[in-house]
Symmetry: C2
């Protein structure tokens, strides 16, 4: 079994590279039972999730990952991933902080996204 | 079965109230298999986790929850919770942003914390 930290790191690199280059391709990471909470809006299933991701109102986006934590999250090989980072959209100068939690479930030698929760983080003060 | 959103909300209220009033009591929420990643430091087991929480170098702390998302995270009733909020320690004026992901596992009619990942979030710019 590959170790969960390597899998989480590979997943996160692949996820945001794909998001920033061609987000339509993220559909391969979701299944009918996958869930996305995006800024409190809930979506279920690969098709609904990818439609939401593609509908986001920016053309160019770049994610910067600042922190990445992972833990085994079930007896059957699932992995919890928590990311914090910055998001730069459409060439704006001011990045936005975000946090995103994923739970990856194993499937036939690979993983899919079972849980996905995204939130922008505003300055606390 | 109580719905996952109500359980997540009750858990989060109880967790931070207990943290801010008497953090030693949080030990009841963890089990030997529980994991905590706190600012990239990893701990496993209720005893190690509570020692870390109690060793945090502040006397007074107040958590403010800004967002709370939850999703079912297994076939067996686990719940993923993602919180963003602000942390005010020792009467300092400037709050710090944080994000915390939990996975709650069901056990005999209640829940314990299987996964716990905490990160401060610094302004992106």
């Amino acid at each position: 079994m590959a170790d969960f930290e390597s899998i989480a790191k590979q997943f996160v690199e692949f996820y945001y590279k794909t998001f920033d280059e061609n987000r339509a391709n993220l559909i391969a990471l979701y299944r009918p039972q996958s869930m996305l909470s995006f800024e409190a809006q809930a979506f279920q299933g690969a098709q609904a999730i990818i439609e939401k991701i593609q509908s986001l109102p920016f053309q160019k986006v770049a994610h910067r990952v600042d922190t990445l934590d992972s833990q085994p999250s079930s007896e059957t090989g699932a992995i919890l991933v928590l990311v914090t980072g910055a998001l730069l959209v459409d060439g704006q100068e001011r990045p936005m902080s975000y946090t995103q939690a994923f739970q990856l479930h194993p499937e036939a030698g690979t993983y899919f996204v079972f849980n996905d929760v995204f939130r922008l983080v505003y300055p606390a003060a």
